[in-house]
Amino acid sequence: MTTTTSFAARATTVAARATDLSKVYGQGETQVVALDQVSVDFGQGEFTAIMGPSGSGKSTLMHCVAGLDSFSGGSVRIGETELSSLKDKQLTKLRRDKIGFIFQAFNLLPTLTALENITLPMDIAGRKPDKQWLEQVISMVGLADRLSHRPTELSGGQQQRVAVARALASRPEIIFGDEPTGNLDSRSGAEVLGFLRNSVRELGQTVVMVTHDPVAASYADRVIFLADGRIVDEMHQPTAEGVLDRMKDFDAKGRTS
């Protein structure tokens, strides 16, 4: 169990940190506060799930931390880099080099084969993929015999596995998933979540995932709950039942208020 302890020790270093992060849409009467001074750390080698009811700001939080969206106040750091001062070009480079993405709608390029999709971020950066690592990732997601297929020839689960491999292949500092199982049946979903958890446990990857599915959240090491743009709760080593119960509270609150 030496490996586990070493990862636990590394969990104290922070991969991404938001401090007093605010995001406000509109002005005056129509002003909507999507994020209200949120402060959160995402530890290295940790699998975090962000949950909350619709409109709670969970996706916005992820988008801001991932450098996809601008924010109104506070600060965001990926490793040592402060995002608020970055221009689009630098942000793009940061996403390219340090961040991996998995989207709900897979978002693969239909013109490229599975392998080409996996190596796309490195092709964009003009880097040569680390062959050994690539093979390890591919065999982990079980795509070795599907590499020359195009996305349209793959099932939804297989497509999302390609997306997972794409996110892992460039060894980013942190991977963000936006409802990665939202479009999958439960079996394929479980597979994808299994890969993500394995990448954290075995490869020391950092993963942050937005989801509304308690079962998906139960794969994470930690769940943070958002409501009305604020972090309202946090749960470590969650179970599906525990998360479901916590979510029911939101529903009850929503109905009474």
Binding site: K93, A105, R166
Partner: protein
């Protein structure tokens, strides 16, 4: 249905913009042409009507004003006097006109080869000639006077009192400008120059026998109708003359104007048609896309009970609205085009008569009809495809991707068409052959999607340096072969025509050049500027010049050799070999003396004449037959053809001895000094044209170049529409792929690279169209060349490499420019918006 369609149009404004623009440009071209020619024609008619004001009845030689020497009726002063005294006649005027070469201040011919006309001043009772309205000075009264039309005076800078030099049939005269006048004379309206002499001088100088007039115009007194006057004029009509009323003359003139303007408008309309045809590809593309994007919506309509026909109709109504908007806008733009055309032509030197803008009802109807019909026609297939969407598609949660139906049927049809075309090419008949070329062209358009893959694959190595964006651009451009194909086809059509015409024009220019250098050994060829014959005195004078090494008059007369009509040219047998290079198939120039002749190969082949045969030769001017021995058969060309024989065999048969041309070989070759000597020997005569070889080939080459430039200008329209098509396709692609582009942005492709990707795709598609177009153009040029080389022997196909490189470079630039807007909107896509699932 109409409301849904209207809503759809409004909802897709941006995406329909390029379609509207494409249709609009075509319609603008059509309506501009129609308005311009109507306006131009009516202004012309109004102006020419004025020039008939003084004519109630005209007495003219029978069968028009032909100057067939023998049949000239005596329209003399005697007849004029008789006409004046006729009951109902108020006045009568004799008119005479003919070619007059006027020298400008530099001694050069004014008004070009056709434009300078000389006429008489015929003073009426009041001492004025109603045809001329003097603005300065006075009418010419003596042989030493001359009057100029005001525009010619402006152009040359001559003022009243200046001395000018002119020539009518050879000798150069000088005269003093007595006055400047305005006139409605047809030749001046058409842009020519007119000079006026006093009556007697004109009649002498313009070479009419017995001091006769060309025409006698009788003006009716008040109360007498043209018809009544015509009846009384007919009583005094001499043999071979006829009388016509002013109204009839005006009608005839109007008909001629109509003919001229309609042939002009036909040419312009062909190019408008090409632009519209190119537009069809864009419209079809847009509607195909709109239908694909709205699959769900259309399926929903089907699900709630709309019939297939209703769905098709909704698309067609949409097309109708778009077409109507485009047609109205195009029509408005067309009026601007008409005004622009007029000022453009005026700036170019042609002075068009002023007149109000004429917008006929047919123009309006045509413009609207064309816009609507073309748009609906192009939207018809997409509309039918829309109707085939099953209602269940509405329930499908899958993101509707554009259909990638198999191309098997299309490729089969295309191959069959090409095969048919190739088959036709092997036929003997020339019409079937060129028909085959057109069929192949159509087949290639059908096959463009198939061709797109290998072409774009071949472009792969060029895209390699661009890394991942190059690769994505390449893959994206073959993604929807149909769309890529129709976008490229639009560009292809324009470039096919441009390349084909360039090939033919350049080859033709070279052929003429070669012909001039090959067949003309003489340094100078002299002829009259108006293509009239020269007097023999010209040759006599020049032959005595010390600078001249060899010379010959070309004394040409029509006639028959062995019963076949040909041109018979008398030459000086001693110097002929030094002046003309002939390509003999048998015999030689050596035997050309006495009763000998050289004939061209065509004549020899037609009549089965061989060298050594003696053939009977008859001249049109008399009935005596010469028997000439054929001493050589040569390969004819456009410059040198017919029968050549020593001058002595020709001169006795001519009723009036004239020379068509004089050829000169100078002792030191062509030089400014040599030319000066020739010019001086002829008394600095502006009517005589002195050309060296370069001048001769430039004369034709210049005309070809001007024509080519005009065609380039007109075809630029088709290219412009094609550019709209590229923009359209790219904008649609960007819209369709906004999720992908967003994802690429998210995983680290920066804005510049996104732009580059779109730009490269645009360049690839443009170059694809351009390369296909150039290829087909070369092919068409080759086909056309084959039939040309049948008649023009020196024609060999010339591939204008330089120009083709320019065309391809332009296509690449077009690609870059067309991508500006779509690339910018792609780069602006927020990665967040783009990756949000709907």
């Amino acid at each position: 249905m109409f409301r849904t369609a209207l809503r759809n149009v409004l909802a897709h404004k941006a995406r329909l913009l390029m379609t509207v623009l494409a249709v609009m440009l075509g319609v603008a071209f059509v309506s501009g042409t129609l308005v311009f020619t109507d306006t131009f024609g009516s202004a012309y008619k109004n102006k020419s009507a004025k020039s008939f004001d003084h004519v109630s009845v005209a007495i003219k030689p029978d069968g028009g004003s032909d100057d067939g020497e023998g049949k000239r009726p005596p329209l003399t002063d005697g007849l004029l006097a008789k006409a004046k005294k006729l009951p109902g006649a108020e006045s009568a005027l004799g008119s005479v006109s003919g070619f007059t070469a006027l020298a400008d201040k530099d001694g050069k011919l004014v008004g070009g080869e056709w434009g300078t006309t000389g006429a008489n001043f015929f003073p009426g009772k009041d001492g004025k000639d109603p045809r001329y309205d003097f603005t300065d000075g006075a009418a010419p009264k003596s042989p030493r006077d001359i009057a100029l039309d005001s525009r010619t005076a402006d152009r040359t800078g001559y003022k009243v009192g200046d001395t000018v030099r002119y020539s009518t049939d050879g000798p150069v005269h000088t005269a003093k400008v007595s006055g400047v006048f305005d006139t409605d004379d047809g030749s001046v309206i058409a842009g020519g120059s007119l000079v006026v002499f006093d009556n007697d001088t004109a009649r002498k100088a313009l070479g009419k026998k017995n001091m006769a007039y060309d025409e006698i115009d009788v003006k009716a007194a008040a109360g007498t109708s043209e018809g009544a006057l015509k009846a009384s004029v007919e009583k005094i009509l001499p043999k071979d003359a006829e009388a016509e009323t002013g109204a009839a003359l005006k009608d005839e003139q109007d008909r001629m104007i109509e003919q001229n303007t309609s042939s002009m408008s036909q040419v312009l309309l062909i190019f408008a048609g090409i632009a519209l045809f190119v537009g069809i590809f864009i419209i079809a593309n847009t509607f195909t896309m709109l239908v694909a994007q709205r699959t769900k919506e259309l399926a929903l309509m089907r699900a709630v009970g709309a019939s297939r026909r209703q769905v098709t109709r909704s698309v067609l109504i949409e097309a109708f609205i778009v077409g109507l908007i485009a047609a109205v806008a195009g029509f408005a733009l067309g009026i601007g085009v008409a005004v622009g055309l007029e000022s453009l032509m005026n700036a170019g030197g042609a002075s068009l008569p002023d007149g109000p803008l004429v917008i006929g009802p047919t123009t309006i109807v045509t413009a609207l009809l064309i816009g609507v019909v073309v748009t609906m026609l192009a939207a018809w297939l997409p509309g039918r495809r829309a109707a085939k969407i099953p209602p269940v598609a509405a329930m499908n949660s899958v993101h509707a991707s554009p259909t990638t139906r198999g191309l098997v049927v299309r490729n089969t049809i295309g191959s069959l068409i090409v095969a048919l075309g190739v088959g036709m090419m092997f036929m003997k008949d020339n019409y079937v052959k060129s028909g085959g070329a057109a069929v192949i062209l159509v087949g290639v358009i059908v096959l463009t999607p198939l061709l797109s893959r290998p072409f774009i694959a071949a472009a792969g190595p060029l895209l390699k340096p661009f890394g991942v964006t190059g690769k994505l651009a390449r893959l994206n451009s073959v993604r929807n072969p149909r769309r890529t194909a129709s976008t490229a086809s639009a560009l292809m059509i324009g470039l096919t025509l441009i390349t084909a015409m360039t090939v033919v024009a350049v080859s033709m220019g070279n052929a003429i050049n070669k012909m001039a250098t090959d067949s003309l050994k003489a340094d100078y060829a002299l002829s009259m500027a108006n293509f009239q014959p020269l007097t023999p005195k010209v040759h006599d004078k020049l032959a005595r010049l010390p600078e001249v090494e060899a010379s010959s008059a070309m004394r040409t007369e029509d006639g028959e050799a062995d019963g076949s009509s040909t041109q018979i040219t008398g030459v000086d047998p001693k110097s002929f070999a030094k002046l003309v290079g002939l390509d003999f198939t048998s015999g030689s120039m050596a035997g050309l003396k006495g009763k000998a002749a050289l004939i061209d190969k065509e004549l020899a082949d037609d009549q089965g004449i061989k060298t050594g045969d003696t053939v009977p030769v008859k001249f049109d001017d008399d009935d005596r037959t010469e028997r000439l021995k054929v001493v050589g058969v040569y390969q004819q060309n456009e410059m040198i053809n017919g029968l050549f024989t020593p001058t002595a065999n020709v001169t006795p048969h001519m009723s009036k001895v004239v020379d068509q041309q004089v050829l000169l070989k100078m002792k030191g070759g062509t030089s400014e000094k040599a030319e000066d000597a020739v010019v001086k020997a002829l008394g600095d005569n502006p009517a005589i044209k002195i050309q060296d070889k370069a001048d001769i080939s430039n004369e034709v080459g210049g005309a070809i170049n001007m024509l080519l430039n005009m065609l380039y200008g007109l075809l630029a329209m088709a290219i412009l529409v094609a550019v709209l098509g590229v923009i359209n396709t790219l904008a649609m692609s960007v819209f369709e792929r906004k999720h992908e582009i967003g994802m690429l942005r998210a995983i680290g492709l920066d804005r510049a690279k996104i732009k580059q990707m779109v730009r490269l795709e645009s360049v690839v598609i443009s170059l694809f169209g351009a390369v296909l177009g150039v290829g087909l153009g070369l092919f068409l040029g080759w086909i056309a060349g084959n039939s040309i080389s049948g008649t023009v022997k020196t024609y060999t196909m010339e591939v204008p490499v330089g120009r083709i490189v320019i065309f391809l470079a332009i296509a690449a630039v077009v690609g870059v420019l067309a991508a500006v807007w779509p690339a910018r909107s792609a780069a602006r896509l927020n990665p967040l918006q783009a990756i949000k699932s709907e």
